[in-house]
């Protein structure tokens, strides 16, 4: 682990209607680390994300971020603490343009208020201009310049994923949660994405927790991996360690067809 733990999950347990989705999970992400969370479909990976971003209420366990207990926080506060996320199936504001989505990403770093906005008081315009500049920088960085003023619902899925990544990044997070970033991308695009994520980490001092199906992507990108199966952590370590772990091979890597079916 590089540096002190930024995110620390202890004993996370959540069940839905008697089915235990995540069972006593311990997980930590250090500052500057890129950590992968892998496992077969239904292993509970996205559920972990939903607990961290407070969409789900865990039954037991604690989630600490920057030495602060966020287990009881509300979902909209999470991004303010410095955790931004993307979604498996993309949750963009479909009627907004790329630019508008990236402005929304800066919601918590902008000041607002209905009266201030309605009367255009005290630098509301300047705030907006600053946010637009930052959004434009990100758009350029992600190569989305041609799509800046397009409504995102007309963009192909792969680009929507990219817009979502940009929207998470403009909030200046310390920790980025990426849910299947390679969905919709081919092998070469996946490699480019891995490069991009590494560059973003270095440029913005990020830590990254990534859920992914694409094994070569994860193995190449991550410093450390956690493997989940049926909600339980069955292995953890560097990609090399995980790759040679017999339990993992049996549960996951041993069924290559399954990966194809799931993806």
């Amino acid at each position: 682990m590089i540096g002190a733990a930024l995110l620390e999950i202890k004993g996370l347990t959540i069940s839905f209607g008697g089915l235990v989705a995540v069972d006593g999970l311990d997980l930590a992400v250090g500052t500057g680390e890129i950590v992968g969370l892998i496992g077969p479909n239904g292993a509970g990976k996205t559920t972990v994300f939903n607990c961290v971003s407070r969409f789900y209420e865990p039954d037991r366990g604690t989630i600490r971020f920057k030495d602060r207990d966020i287990t009881g926080a509300r979902s909209h506060e999470i991004i303010r603490f410095g955790i931004a996320r993307t979604f498996q199936n993309v949750e963009l504001c479909r009627s907004m343009t790329t630019l508008e989505n990236l402005l929304l990403g800066q919601h918590v770093v902008m000041r607002g208020g209905v009266i201030r906005d309605g009367l255009r008081l005290r630098g509301a315009g300047a705030d907006e201009a600053r946010a637009t500049t930052r959004a434009d920088e990100m758009i350029e960085l992600l190569g989305l310049t041609d799509h800046r003023d397009r409504v995102v619902s007309v963009l192909p899925f792969r680009l929507q994923k990219l817009v979502e990544l940009g929207r998470a990044l403009v909030s200046k997070p310390a920790l980025l949660l990426l849910d299947e970033p390679t969905a919709g991308a081919d092998h070469r695009e996946s490699q480019a994405l891995a490069d991009l994520i590494r560059r973003m980490r270095d440029r913005f001092d990020l830590s990254v927790l990534v859920v992914e199906h694409d094994m070569s992507f994860v193995m190449g990108l991550c410093d450390r991996l956690y493997v989940l199966n049926f909600g339980r952590r069955i292995a953890a370590g560097t990609p090399a360690q995980v790759r040679s772990d017999p339990v993992v091979i049996q549960a996951y890597l041993g069924e290559p067809e399954r990966e194809v079916v799931d993806a």
């Binding site: 303010r80 949750e91 009627s95 402005l103 929304l104 009367l119 255009r120 509301a124």
Partner: protein
């Protein structure tokens, strides 16, 4: 005024709109056989309804929260302003401020259960609210005037330094309504194109995305409710004074449905749409009463209203504003340097309507 300072292109429609509103009275005077006072009175009503529609548009069109009870807020504004001026002798402006604030406060409170209710449930709850308000007015008949209403309101007045403007004629009230409408239109437009408006639209598009981006649903949904109730409250206060009197029958569920129809027809998610929908529907209503062949006006109007709702949703989901927008885009893309630009525009899709 600093808050009027927006981009020139954006300002142009307001200047045009204000000029038209200013010119209507003298032009009407020039048409023989027309009673300008009565026409102006009707136009004033249309402008007042437009104020409600703009507020309701922010709630339904931008934030995606339905209300079938906005006649309730309209009634709260009207009754508060009427009671304060009539019974307590408060000046008109002060009464209007109190009316608007009370309506907004109640809107805020109604927004609280709305946090937990989605579409149809919210529609039922707001429908109930709209039904309950006139009933409460009748119930508290001893001071609200009951079912016979309140009449003989003092004329509205506006203190401007040493000078006090007193509104007496239909034309005076017309200018009052027009001025308030213009200011509230600019305010609404500023809100929906800003930080706050983006949060509203985010809630409409995806509550999940909104929450993940840090939008506090409690704060923004209640704000949208309070804001739309504020608009309805101000409009109600004006309404009471333009008519010089009100009764519970002015605030039926049908009026709430009128408001809904205005914004659906004009185009959900567009301030200009709400405005044009309100004007159009009010004129349509008046035109229908004037058809010489129709005796049964009320039924005809109800059927027309229902048909507008269904046909607009089925064939023009973005209403008149959507039509105007695609005409504009097509015009911009007219073949000058090749025919391919139409496809390009089609591909660009339609904007968020802000």
């Amino acid at each position: 005024m600093r808050w009027l300072r927006t981009r020139r292109r954006v300002l142009a429609p307001y200047v045009l709109g204000a000029a038209v509103l200013l010119l209507i009275p003298p032009l009407l005077g020039g048409i023989p056989g027309v009673a300008p006072g009565y026409v102006l009175y009707l136009v004033s009503l249309a402008l007042i309804y437009a104020i409600v529609a703009i507020g309701l548009g922010i709630l339904i069109g931008h934030t995606g929260q339905i209300s079938l009870g906005h006649a309730g807020f309209f009634a709260i504004g009207a009754y508060t302003s009427a009671l304060l001026t009539l019974r307590l002798g408060l000046p008109f402006v002060l009464a209007l401020v109190v009316a608007a604030s009370l309506s907004a406060a109640i809107g805020f409170l109604l927004g609280l259960p709305a946090l937990r209710l989605s579409g149809p449930y919210l529609a039922v709850a707001t429908l109930g609210f709209g039904l309950a308000i006139p009933q409460l007015v009748v119930w508290q008949g001893s001071w609200t005037g009951g079912s016979s209403g309140l009449h003989g309101l003092p004329p509205a007045s506006l203190p401007l330094g040493a000078l006090t403007i007193v509104f007496r004629t239909d034309q005076d009230y017309y200018y009052l309504a027009a001025a308030v409408l213009i200011l509230l239109t600019i305010f609404a437009r500023n809100v929906v194109t800003s930080h706050t408006g983006r949060a509203f639209i985010a809630i409409r598009d995806s509550e999940t995305a909104a929450r993940a981006m840090g939008v506090d649903l409690v704060r923004y949904k209640t704000t949208a409710f309070a804001l739309s109730a504020l608009y309805a409250g101000i409009a109600g206060g004006l309404y009471a004074h333009v008519l010089h009197g009100i009764s519970p029958e002015d605030f039926t569920v049908l009026l709430s449905v009128d408001f809904l129809t205005m914004i659906v027809l004009g185009g959900l998610g567009s301030v200009g749409g709400a405005l044009s929908g309100a004007l159009l529907l009010t004129f349509l209503q008046n035109a229908l009463t004037r058809l010489p062949v129709v005796h049964d006006f009320k039924n005809l109007y109800i059927v027309v209203l229902g048909a507008i709702l269904i046909l607009t949703i089925a064939f023009l989901p973005r209403g008149l504003a959507g039509v105007a927008r695609s005409v504009r885009l097509r015009w911009a893309a007219r073949p000058r340097d090749g025919a391919s630009r139409v496809d390009q525009i089609v591909e660009l899709g339609e904007g968020s309507g802000v």
